[in-house]
């Protein structure tokens, strides 16, 4: 091939790729795969084991990952990777847990598993120092950047009180399954952070939330796309100086985990574990009132596992 011809062809190919991307595959936009849950339980709480072992037990009692992930599906696992701190500081989701969830997804036949977070500290350092990048790659999933506005697409949603639109990471728009994997922590402004608060990591403009009644925004945004499964990591729990933490002295080893398809119930149980009443956390109360889920744990079928 002559040089000129080669250049022409490659330019044409580049244009074709570019064009195909703009006309790209957003066919399953909003067509979320709400899985018919045959699980006998609304919520599973586990205690006393390592994060990966606890997840094995908990997901088994929900009928296994195959209840959530079907063959050939695209999955997003969204941990909290917000801070440039090492795993023993528990500022980010436990990497062992993230790794095990990815393994379960692939065992259930997932085609691709993506992991990302819109970090607060420098994203490359967060990804690597949290230990999550390493386990994600090791497990064969893809860790994807989320630090540029161009990844985010505007969406609108109904039912919010102060919020009806946001810019959301494009993978959330197209993925079949969304697994939310927050870590339970103290939080300076929202009191505690768990499942609902973790969704701040899939939007671009968090400043808007802070400016327009943070608690209500957290509740409102849960109307947009409820995760198909919430896994709250409460293995090592930050009890003060959150969400970043100052030292290891801020932590308590609680060796617990909560799984639920109900994002409000998951946070309510997490609040109880943490030692606060769910109704004292304004965003949990607001979400309960908006019927996004329930914080009344007495109404739920709960599986309690002690290892």
């Amino acid at each position: 091939m002559e040089r000129r011809e080669f250049l022409k062809k490659s330019a044409a190919a580049a244009i074709a790729i570019g064009a195909s991307s703009t006309l790209g595959n957003y066919s399953n936009l909003f067509a979320h795969n709400f899985i018919s849950q045959k699980s006998p339980y609304d919520l599973v709480a586990v205690k006393g084991g390592e994060p990966d072992i606890m997840f094995d037990r908990a997901i088994a009692s929900l009928g296994g990952m195959k209840n959530f992930v079907k063959k050939g599906q695209t999955v997003i696992v969204k941990p909290n990777i917000g801070w440039d701190v090492s795993p023993e500081r528990a500022g980010n989701t436990n990497p062992k847990l993230v790794e095990r969830i990815i393994q379960h997804c692939f065992n259930a036949g997932a085609k691709t598993v993506y992991v990302f977070d819109h970090t607060c500290d420098n994203w490359t350092r967060c990804y690597s120092d949290s230990g999550i990048e390493r386990v994600v790659k090791g497990a064969g999933a893809k860790i994807v950047p989320a630090d540029s506005e161009s990844y985010y697409h505007g969406i609108t949603f109904k039912g919010g009180k102060v919020m009806s639109e946001a810019k959301v990471h494009e993978l959330i728009l197209s993925a079949d399954v969304f697994i939310n994997v927050p870590i339970l922590k103290h939080h300076g402004s929202s009191k505690i952070t768990a499942s609902m608060k973790n969704l701040m990591g899939i939007v671009w403009d968090r400043g808007y939330w802070h400016q327009n009644n943070l608690h209500q925004c957290i509740a409102d945004f849960s109307m947009y796309r409820k995760p198909d499964l919430n896994v709250v990591d409460a293995y090592l729990v930050m009890k003060r100086n959150g969400p970043r933490g100052v030292s290891k002295e801020d932590l308590v080893l609680m060796k617990s985990q909560i799984l639920s398809t109900d994002i409000v119930a998951a946070d309510a149980a997490a609040a109880k574990l943490y030692g606060v009443e769910p109704e004292d956390i304004p965003y949990i109360k607001a979400a309960d009132e908006m019927k996004i889920g329930t914080m009344n744990l007495g109404k739920l079928k709960i599986q309690r596992i002690i290892i």
């Binding site: 580049a14 790729i17 570019g18 195909s20 991307s21 703009t22 790209g24 709480a45 205690k47 006393g48 440039d84 701190v85 691709t112 607060c120 500290d121 420098n122 490359t124 350092r125 893809k142 860790i143 950047p145 630090d147 540029s148 990844y151 939080h187 300076g188 402004s189 929202s190 968090r206 400043g207 808007y208 802070h210 400016q211 327009n212 009644n213 943070l214 608690h215 209500q216 009890k239 100086n241 969400p243 970043r244 100052v246 030292s247 002295e249 801020d250 932590l251 308590v252 080893l253 609680m254 060796k255 309510a268 149980a269 109880k272 574990l273 304004p282 744990l297 709960i302 309690r304 002690i306």
Partner: protein, 521 residues
């Protein structure tokens, strides 16, 4: 070794330095280890001279090595180590290839201009009025040209490719945000780049022999070099080839003389001479026959120039030294001082040593280091500062202190960096969301790595930020995170002299967890 091969050696060494420095200044992914940078920056003349003046140690050896090299062989520095020199050679190469410039002619020595600028640069170094050095240092100019002009273009191309890949679910390249300083700052490297490009396209190494203070300083040293390049009269056949390829324009074939002071040791003459008419000779055996460098005019003029420039610059710098307000507003933010990077000890220390080469700007992973405009005063224009509008300083990072070639940013240990107070956070309650909107926010406290910014009870079960000065390290995370526009509710004012912050002593939380007990629900 035959002298003919010297040019090849020169080209290889110069390209090595050039490409290495190019990579260092382009390293926006922080792929390269910071320790690697020192191999290529420690020989850069002005940075190592500043280091030499400040501390005598191995790290300052570069300065001595260059002096010795020059005293042995003349200005080899200019054609090997200096990246701006190699950049000019690339332009010259280009203009020859494009047949724009077929050959060079001998040039005037421009002694008055050279020594005036050299004198100013030296005075500037000694007085700490770095603006002259910032303008003239070839290495720093190269750094700024790459960082501010070339790197954004490369990032733009990289991002474009990355976006096409990402659209197709290929997450191989990650886009990098281009944070761009103000347009005025762009003019600075653009002007230098244009001058350098024009001169090298038209006149070879005229920049090095008229403007560059390193060139002028080394040319004085090369007067005493052990070896010098000279014309062997008995071999010379008068073909004029050497004069035509001499980028420095220092060969005078008619008088069969070479003004070795201006020779940048490119060795082009060796390669073209058909009769071994150009040779390295021992200076102290041969008789001086340089006809060009005799007159020593302009001494008086030089002193007068120097003094007048200094007077102008210093008056300007005093006028600009204290930049008080940023933007007028009802609840105006009054930043009294800029924030200098961790390891710079004090604003004065930093201003005295920094040549604004922008290596720290390039290496900073969070891009918080950005060139300043007038925040340090006129004399510190382009010297990097912590720009908390752009980003904030990563708590666990000391890369800037590891790469700085001039010791403007001294090496610091991570543990002491974490306690180095660059400035203090100031809270403006009247701007805060909690006060104005009556809703929770706390973005500042969230980002604070030392919890100097803490959320304390306010009315209606709300919490509001409170700053404890003694724990604050001035990293700017709170200021960057504050969502209030256009004026932030919390901002960092620089410390003229950096302090040591107190470490928060925390007791272990005393909670007994019963791993076998019941759940609280």
């Amino acid at each position: 070794m035959k002298l003919v091969h010297l040019k090849k050696v020169r080209v290889i060494i110069s390209l090595t330095f050039f490409l290495a420095l190019l990579l260092l200044f382009m390293d926006f992914g922080n792929v390269l280890s910071p320790s690697y940078t020192n191999y290529f920056t420690f020989l850069q003349f002005i940075p190592s001279a500043i280091k030499f003046a400040g501390l005598v140690g191995l790290s300052a050896a570069g300065f001595i090595i260059i002096m010795l090299l020059t005293l042995l062989f003349g200005r080899v520095y200019c054609s090997t180590i200096c990246p701006l020199g190699t950049l000019q050679d690339l332009f010259s190469f280009l203009s020859r290839k494009l047949k724009k410039k077929k050959y060079y002619r001998k040039k005037k020595p421009y002694k008055a201009l050279r020594y005036a600028l050299l004198g100013l640069a030296i005075l500037s170094l000694f007085t700490g009025y770095m603006i002259i050095v910032i303008w003239l240092d070839p290495y720093s100019n190269f750094g700024r040209i790459i960082t501010l002009l070339i790197k954004p273009i490369i990032i733009f191309i990289k991002n474009s490719v990355a976006f096409i890949l990402i659209k197709n679910r290929i997450f191989y390249l990650n886009p990098v945000e281009i944070i761009y300083p103000s347009f005025y700052l762009l003019l600075f490297p653009l002007f230098v780049f244009s001058v350098v490009a024009y001169l090298s396209l038209k006149e070879g190494r005229l920049f090095c022999n008229s403007i560059c203070p390193v060139g002028s300083f080394l040319s004085i040293l090369s007067k005493f070099s052990l070896l010098k390049i000279d014309i062997e009269a008995k071999n010379c056949i008068g073909c004029k080839l050497c004069e035509r390829v001499c980028k420095a324009g220092c060969i005078d074939r008619e008088n069969k003389a070479i003004d070795f002071e201006r020779c940048v040791s490119c060795y082009n003459c060796f390669t073209v001479c058909p009769s071994e008419g150009v040779k390295y000779k021992l200076r102290y055996k041969s008789k001086k026959n340089s006809a060009l460098s005799e007159t020593d005019y302009g001494k008086r003029k030089f002193i007068a120039n120097t003094l007048s420039y200094l007077a102008i610059f210093s008056s300007l710098s005093y006028a600009q030294r204290k930049i008080v307000s940023k933007l007028p507003s009802k609840v105006a933010i009054r930043k009294k001082f800029p924030v200098s990077p961790p390891g710079s000890l004090s604003i004065e220390h930093f201003k005295d040593k920094c040549t604004a080469c922008h290596l720290c700007v390039s290496s900073c992973p969070s891009q918080v280091l950005q060139p300043s405009y007038l925040e340090y005063g006129f004399i510190g224009m382009m010297q990097p500062m912590m720009n908390y509008e752009a980003s904030f300083c990563n708590y666990d990072c000391i890369i800037c202190s590891q790469v700085c070639p001039t010791s403007a940013i001294m090496p610091v240990k991570l543990e002491s960096k974490k306690l180095t107070q660059l400035g203090k956070a100031n809270f403006i309650k009247e701007n805060c969301i909690v006060y104005t909107e009556g809703t929770d926010c706390g973005a500042c406290s969230e980002h604070c790595p030392t919890k100097a910014v803490n959320m304390v009870p306010y009315k209606n079960k709300l919490v509001i930020p409170e700053v404890s000065d003694e724990y604050c390290i001035g990293c700017g995370a709170c200021e960057f995170a504050c969502p209030v526009k256009p004026y932030k509710a919390i901002y960092v004012d620089g410390n003229p002299v950096h302090f040591t912050a107190k470490k928060k002593e925390l007791k272990k939380i005393d909670v007994k967890v019963d791993y076998k007990g019941d759940f609280p629900f």
